[in-house]
């Protein structure tokens, strides 16, 4: 396995309203390998989304480098597609089919209309939504919208899919179903996924690698291969090592929260 994306000592700072510098990411080093499924865990406000937007090219790092296939990221591109948390990420004036097709039409991917249609239908059937091709986004449920968004990302044929808590707004039942579906798609489609979540269970179920970020200013606290062994299948809570892994991650994340509170008590000025 080779490194598809390298995040090298990335620092991201913003200046706030008073002109004070606020460090969000404080030296992040990460590698994402071809075909890996990396789940990034962290307390809210730790800069997970910022990291994803940096990889996506929507923002540029203050210092450090992000490389895809050895080339520095200069802006957004078709090779890195985003899936967002909100249900409103589909274009409401386009049908499910057109939403998935749009990136292909814009970039003239596919020899003709027929070939594009085949591609779109292939990915719509992968998320089991081929019957809803002519529906408008407002006519389908939240879970279905997220599946369309995943299909849209896949149809773009990216090297990596960047997912920003795509299931966070779903009810737990739908969430479990979509986790399984995404896992199967990842197995089948052989894509690289970077998946942000604040849910430990989700990280264990999905991730081949699990990363824990500290609270802002963020560093990487944990970067491990998922230790839970389910024989390559989906990692349900009865899988070997699940509980230990959950406890380990929970401790690491709680430690972040705890440390943060201690700092706050001791020198409240240092917290922005």
């Amino acid at each position: 396995m080779s490194s598809l994306i390298e995040v090298k000592n990335v620092i991201k700072q913003y200046s706030n309203a008073e002109g004070k510098l606020l460090t969000v990411l404080d030296g992040i080093d990460l590698n994402f390998e071809q075909g890996s499924f990396t789940c990034i865990l962290g307390p809210s406000g730790c800069g997970k989304t910022t990291l994803l937007e940096l990889i996506g090219g929507f923002q540029l790092p203050t210092s450090g480098q992000i490389l895809t296939n050895g080339n520095p990221v200069k802006g957004p591109g078709m090779d890195r597609s985003m899936v967002f948390q909100t249900f409103d990420q589909l274009l409401p004036w386009k049908t499910v089919f057109k939403n998935v097709e749009y990136a292909l039409t814009i970039n003239k991917i596919g020899a003709d209309k027929k070939e594009r249609e085949d591609t779109v239908m292939k990915f719509l059937s992968l998320v089991e939504l081929e019957k809803f091709r002519d529906y408008y986004p407002h006519q389908i449920s939240g879970g279905m919208k997220q599946r369309v968004a995943i299909a849209r990302s896949l149809a773009q044929r990216p090297q990596v899919i960047l997912m920003d808590e795509p299931f966070a707004s779903l009810d737990s039942q739908t969430r479990n179903t979509l986790q399984e579906q995404l896992f199967r798609i990842w197995e089948k489609a052989n894509v690289t996924i970077v998946f942000i979540t604040h849910n430990i269970q989700e990280a264990i179920v999905l991730g081949s690698k699990i990363v824990v970020m500290a609270k802002s200013p963020s560093k990487i606290v944990v970067n491990i291969d998922n230790p839970v062994d389910a024989g390559g299948g989906i990692r349900f809570p009865d899988a070997k090592g699940y509980n230990e892994c959950w406890k380990f991650l929970h401790e690491k994340i709680s430690a972040q929260t705890y440390k943060e509170e201690l700092i706050q008590e001791n020198n409240p000025d240092e917290i922005c």
Partner: protein, 268 residues
């Protein structure tokens, strides 16, 4: 019996019947006021004389010709206004300097009544149709521009990111993302502009009078007032209102139903 009541209720829910009842109410009140003889007949004609005047003037083609002429001017004025507002919005999108410039123009020009510009317009363009079109463009452009720009600036950040993600060019981003996403605002601007255009047209015509050989509804109204033909004045007003209802109910409603309504972009 219950069935009949249900059917009547369904009918009442229908916008058309609601409107009809409203109009019948106005007509009845009007006629009652007429019978009280509180106002002289020259000022307050009966429903019947207004109706007769409307039918006669429509039948002899005079009212239709005037209406047609007015509509033509409005059409030209709105078209120019729309093109200009697209150009201005485009400019405002390109750079911050342009954006400030467009904002300043709107702030200065929007509250300025077109009629206040008349002396200058007459000096520059004379008394012809061009002057009237200018007043219409002035009244159409600013509300349209204001609404389009509001629409553009309230396009969700996420749609822009999506567009960038799939490597859309700036032009494609405008036509593929910004315009459809701002349609609710653009329609609102169109509706306001349409109403403003009518007002501007009628008042400009009443002041300019006939432009050359042809003239529109505004001139018709002021002419009939000179003749003390009050029923004909009301007849013209009715035509203006009817056109307003037709455009609102048929054109705008259908347009919204077939676009943003179908896409769930309106809160119902």
């Amino acid at each position: 019996m219950g069935n009949v009541i249900k059917k009547v209720l369904v009918l009442l829910k229908n916008l058309f019947f609601k409107r009809l009842i409203f109009f019948i109410g106005i007509i009845v009140v009007w006629q009652v006021l007429f019978y009280t003889k509180l106002y002289p007949v020259q000022m307050f004609p009966s429903v019947k004389t207004i109706w007769d005047s409307l039918v006669n003037n429509l039948a002899n083609g005079e009212l239709l010709a005037k209406t047609g002429f007015s509509l033509e001017l409005i059409g030209i004025g709105m078209l120019i206004g729309m093109i200009l507002s697209v150009i201005f919005t485009g400019l405002a999108m390109i750079s911050k300097v342009c954006r400030n410039f467009v904002d300043s123009i709107i702030t200065i020009a929007h509250p300025l009544p077109g009629i206040a510009l008349l002396p200058i317009i007459i000096l520059w363009l004379g008394l012809g149709s061009n002057a009237i079109i200018f007043v219409i463009v002035h009244s159409v452009l600013w509300p349209m521009l204001l609404n389009t720009m509001t629409g553009f600036s309230s396009v969700p950040k996420l749609y822009k990111q999506l567009g960038q993600n799939i490597e859309m060019s700036k032009i494609k981003l405008v036509f593929g993302i910004y315009i459809p996403a701002s349609l609710p605002n653009i329609y609102a601007g169109l509706k306001i502009s349409w109403a403003r255009a009518w007002r501007a047209l009628i008042s400009a015509e009443m002041i300019f009078g006939a432009s050359g050989t042809s003239s529109g509804l505004g001139f018709y109204i002021s002419q009939k007032r000179y003749d003390m033909d009050t029923p004909a004045v009301f007849a013209a007003l009715i035509v203006i209102m009817l056109i307003g209802i037709l455009v609102e109910d048929i054109f705008f409603n259908q347009l919204e139903k077939r676009t943003i309504g179908k896409w769930g972009m309106v809160s119902q």
